[in-house]
């Protein structure tokens, strides 16, 4: 019953926080996200190769879902601890913010454990709808513009995904029967399905969910939304929302992991990686720079998926590490922004900024280095892909470390900073370093998942 309990806690938290006062509301949010963090950690520890199913198969707990659910609840927990420090909202916005943040948490967690292909779509759409007012929270012209672009583009993209879902379902209905609505059943009987229709459906699904993941031609909602949203929300959007869509892409890609689908995924992955890293060069706004870094990293993950073999394993590992470090980078940049208003950056905040940016670029102890290396080994046979891939990772590393030095090592301030300004980013950076130094447990979970679903 753990997966359902994971969902209940943020849902209950969001409803309860509507009736609470200011301070209790913040505590309620921290508590509810902490409970779901504890539950998802137990789920991650107890996950087995054979996915467990609940509610007649509608809900499953498998390695991929548990890993992303753990990441979501961890980052939402860190963001909710960080929010009282960072946010300075009036009463109405305060209530909206905490209500929607937990609702957003609930919808993202639901994506991870849904097994019904239509419900995956419903919940991914629900993540857009619950987060649009978080993006447009400030209510000024730029944030409204960002919110408008975000919700319009993602809704259009997801209607393409719905087309793909229907095609997949119809194909399954003819060949498997009523149970073909479940993803696990589709995986089990994927050889029975009509290959051409399956490929078309999967391309539609990848294109649709790719909009939400920020792949190249449809990436342009992402820098706007990230730069306009309040920093804790940006950290959740960049850290885990795109991972949710990546999870959907990975699940559907595994139905047809070869031929034209993987070439297309690889193609869009390369364009996204190159475009994202080049667009990073000319950014002055740090949040936009980090957004383009997300485009680049999603591209890298898609290259890994398209390459197949160990590439799939390392691309899942990559989005895990990217989520941790990207949210760390956003939160530490939030700390720098706040301290700059007071005259200078305290050393502790500067440390957290430099640490998270350099690790995000792919510096060795972090898990992201390992995953980038793993994906490189899976594409190394194709020289042109490998060269483009190396260029994009190199450019992104240089830009990130340069801007960390430029922004972090400016005017120093001797006085002590608020504790949560730097400890929270350092926590998630540390987890990523730990994952880089001792990756066996996580890689084992991913490997078992890939083996279990065939």
């Amino acid at each position: 019953m753990i997966p359902i309990l994971i969902l209940l806690s943020p849902l209950a938290g969001s409803l309860i926080s509507l009736v609470l006062g200011r301070r209790p509301r913040e505590i309620c949010c921290i508590l509810s996200s902490f409970i779901s963090l504890v539950l998802s950690t137990t789920a991650l520890i107890s996950v087995r190769a054979e996915p467990e199913s609940f509610l007649s198969g509608e809900v499953i707990l498998d390695g991929l879902g548990a890993l992303v659910a753990f990441l979501i609840s961890l980052i939402v927990f860190l963001a909710s601890v960080y929010s009282p420090y960072y946010m300075n909202l009036d009463e109405k916005k305060h209530r909206t913010y905490y209500f929607l943040l937990q609702l957003f948490d609930f919808t993202m967690l639901s994506v991870c454990i849904s097994n019904n292909i239509f419900l995956i779509w419903v919940f991914v759409e629900a993540t857009t709808l619950s987060s649009v007012f978080l993006v447009a929270l400030r209510g000024d012209p730029t944030s409204l513009e960002a919110g408008w672009k975000y919700v319009l583009l993602c809704t259009v993209g997801l209607s393409i995904a719905l087309f793909g879902t229907v095609m997949l379902y119809v194909n399954a209905l003819e060949k498997i029967g009523e149970s073909g609505i479940l993803w696990t059943e589709l995986m089990r009987n994927k050889s029975v399905l009509d290959g051409r229709v399956l490929e078309t459906a999967v391309i539609f699904l990848i294109a649709g969910y790719g909009v939400k993941a920020g792949l190249f031609p449809f990436h342009w909602w992402l820098p706007d939304a990230y730069s306009e949203a309040p920093t804790p929300v940006s950290s959740v959007l960049s850290g885990v929302l795109i991972n949710c869509s990546f999870l959907a892409i990975a699940r559907f890609y595994l139905l047809s992991p070869s031929g034209i689908v993987s070439s297309l995924l690889m193609f869009f992955g390369i364009i996204s990686a190159i475009f994202g890293s080049i667009a990073m060069i000319r950014q002055v706004n740090m949040k936009r720079l980090l957004a383009y870094s997300s485009v680049e990293n999603m591209g890298i993950a898609c290259i890994g998926l398209g390459a197949g073999g160990i590439g799939i394993m390392f691309s899942i590992f990559h989005v895990f590490n990217h989520g941790l470090l990207k949210s760390a980078a956003f939160l530490s940049w939030g700390g720098v922004e706040r301290s700059n208003k007071m005259g200078g950056v305290p050393p502790s905040v500067a440390f957290s900024l430099v640490l998270s940016f350099i690790l995000l670029g792919g510096c060795p102890p972090a898990g992201i280095f390992l995953s980038e290396l793993g994906i490189l080994t899976s594409v190394v046979r194709d020289v042109s892909v490998a060269v483009l891939y190396l260029i994009s990772t190199f450019v992104s590393f240089s830009v990130l470390s340069y801007s960390a030095m430029e922004k972090g090592l400016g005017k120093m301030l001797a006085e002590k900073s608020s504790f949560s300004a730097w400890i929270i980013p350092v926590i998630s950076s540390t987890i990523s370093i730990a994952a880089g130094l001792y990756p066996i447990p996580i890689l084992h979970i991913i490997e078992e998942f890939l083996g279990g679903v065939g």
Binding site: W121, P141, L144, W148, L152, V166, I181
Partner: protein, 218 residues
Amino acid sequence: MNVDLAFLFRFLSSIMVITSVAIIELRDLRRSAYAYMLQSAILSADFSLIAMMTSEWHMYLWTVSSLVTKVLLVPKVLIWATEKTGERIEVKPVLPLTVSFGFEGAIIISLFLVAPFVFPSAESRFPSSIPISLVLFMIGIFGMLSRKCALKQVLCLCHMENGVHLFLASLAYRSPMTVEIGILTDAIAAVVILLYMAIQLKRVVGTLDTFKLSLLRW
């Protein structure tokens, strides 16, 4: 009996194509919303025809739910939004009328030529439902790209959703009730949220012309 229903289905679906061109081309937003209302009413009729032809009783529930949401609720909210923002006539679209008609004609003809080969089974059961749903979807995307007015873009999105729903109903009419409820709720919630955002845009930014939204570039 069945043949008559199939003929009726084809006839009604063909009118949907005409309404879809009307939704995109009418510059008066209220008239455009009424055209959408007509299209949704035909869609509901199509749902009940599918229910009769397949004797799947829950398709009648689809009929009722789409009557309530698409025919009554969404046009009502759209017209309310035009009054709230004071924009009756949309800003001049990107393309002139003749070019726009040309694009729509090309979309309609090419999809009618291609679609029957993609889904032969559905084509025999519900004639021309697949090409028409694809036409609705593609014309919606075309309208989304070529119109500047935010409210018109919301209408185009609703129009695309009609296409997806027709596609869903004619291919996956056996899908469980929960699926339909979830998809419909999301669609309606998306429209309401988009209209709310459009009203906010008008209030704060002072325009509904999305091409003028260029505060954020690069």
